[in-house]
């Protein structure tokens, strides 16, 4: 690595050094409590998968370049040069961590390994050593924000074709716009994913609740966050913020996508609208009597996987359980305390990397598969597309014999007319 590149990367590193980050980098006492907290280590016990070990790679580069001891007496401190080899170690650390933050809730100091890994990911982006698929996906999202006209008509035509499916199954009122798009004065902007499965059931529930809603032109997922690039993350986020402001909505409802919800909720700053997950919105409709569900539709034992980015990292824990009280007659918890639930193993961009990460994802999530199997459930539902894909892969790999479903689709299926 040439000196200019190193200096450029160190500037990126320095930009991440706020008070909290310095605390995380200087506090670890090597107590080892985080060791068994990581699903990767618990499934594949190797030192490189210990949360503190991952963080230590970043921590030693920090000591080398940002602490006096490392700068003047590197041989005395545990410091590390920023080299090509260090970048390879950072890659393995960052992309074997799903950012689930289970280690953080066990750590006596609350050290946020995911935050530390965000330095690793940023250095990889700066060195053009990140997974290029994630950057490509982020750039595609940004291009959509810059050029609505290149897909507007095609998208509207595609949405129109979905309306017949909503009407056929859920009998929307004649004369209503079944899937409104670009509706000025709507109360709620629903931000979905690319798939029809993310739009059709949601439309059925919004219409059943008589919501004044509109569908976003943009997909919810933020690949800038997956790849750890703050600039791309912001550009992707701003597309939705801009659309929400233009339409004058009071609420932005994020579909079943954990990262999308956490990023919009925690990084969009003060806005003239509130941010909700679709799970929160559905719970509210039930509470207010705007929709009614038939629990007899789900007589089999059922369990729910809390997506890390929605539950542990964004606090949506009670709402799915409230929905499930109205949706299932034999609900079984995966973990005694939802905050300690195992990650599915697909976060941090690993699912988006597809078959490239499949073997690692299956091996590193053995504990998750065992946790699910122990419930005896016949149905496993969740509220995140990433988790759904990963859990479906686990279901097949470990022959769990389950049906993996989206919670929002189950709500739509159980609607009482």
């Amino acid at each position: 690595m040439d000196e200019k590149t190193r200096q450029d990367l160190l500037k990126l590193f320095e930009g991440k050094l706020n008070q909290a980050m310095r605390l995380y980098l200087e506090t670890c006492s090597r107590c080892g409590v985080c060791t068994e907290a990581c699903h990767v280590y618990a499934s594949m016990p190797q030192a490189k998968y210990i949360a503190a070990y991952r963080a230590e790679i970043v921590r030693r580069i920090y000591k080398k370049y940002f602490k006096s001891q490392g700068r003047f007496w590197p041989s005395l401190g545990q410091s590390k040069d920023l080299t090509e080899m260090a970048l390879e170690e950072l890659y393995e650390a960052a992309y074997s961590c799903t950012g689930c933050r289970r280690c953080m809730v066990y750590c006596p100091f609350g050290i946020d390994t995911q935050m530390i890994m965000s330095i690793a990911k940023l250095l990889l982006v700066g060195a053009h050593a990140e997974p290029e698929i994630l950057t490509m996906l982020a750039d595609t999202s940004i291009a959509k924000g810059e050029s609505l006209e290149i897909f507007r008509e095609g998208f509207l035509a595609g949405i129109k074709r979905l309306e017949a499916e909503v009407v056929a199954k859920w009998q929307s009122q004649a004369g209503d716009t079944v899937i409104p798009v670009d509706k000025q004065g709507a109360d709620l902007l629903y931000v979905a994913l690319a798939g029809a499965h993310s739009i059709i059931p949601a439309a059925a529930v919004f219409n059943a609740a008589r919501e004044n809603w509109t569908l976003s032109f943009f997909e919810a997922v933020n690949f800038g966050a997956f790849v750890g690039d703050p600039t791309r993350t912001k550009l992707i986020l701003e597309r939705i913020v801009g659309e929400a402001k233009r339409l004058g909505v009071k609420e932005v409802c994020i579909c079943e996508c954990g990262t999308a919800f956490r990023v919009m909720k925690q990084l969009s700053g003060p806005q003239p609208f509130q941010v909700s997950s679709i799970t929160q919105v559905h719970a509210r409709y039930i509470r207010e009597g705007r929709i009614k569900l038939d629990p007899s539709k789900n007589p089999e034992p059922l369990t729910y996987h809390d997506p890390c980015q929605i539950a542990r990292n964004a606090g949506v824990i009670d709402e799915p359980r409230y929905i499930l009280q109205h949706l299932a007659s034999d609900y079984r918890e995966l973990a005694p305390e939802p905050i300690y639930n195992w990650c599915c193993g697909g976060g941090g961009g690993l699912v988006a990397l597809g078959e490239e990460t499949l073997d690692f994802r299956m091996k590193s999530s053995r504990v998750k598969a065992e946790q699910v199997r122990k419930t005896g459930a016949k149905t496993l539902c969740t509220a995140c597309e990433n988790c759904h894909t990963q859990l479906s892969d686990l279901n097949q790999h470990y022959q769990l014999g389950l049906e993996v479903k989206f919670l929002s689709s189950m709500v739509a299926e159980a609607l009482v007319p």
């Binding site: 291009a143 897909f151 095609g154 998208f155 595609g158 949405i159 690319a194 997909e219």
Partner: protein
Amino acid sequence: MSQTIKADKTLDLKGLPCPMPVVKVSKGIKEVQVGQVLMAETSDPGALADFPAWAKTSGNEILDTVQEGNTVKFYIQRKA
């Protein structure tokens, strides 16, 4: 127009979870030579928005889109 376009490779992307349609079309285009055509068939409305944006950022060209029932076929020429 598409009746005269011959696809050198085809991809069935119907019903794939996010973000696989774009991931697979991005990988698929690298499996044809520059100047050749990839045909990608999708049923997802989001892909109708994603593919033109992906083509713009990747420098490839969508020659034609053809709707057949609930699916849309994209004919994409590799440019670089």
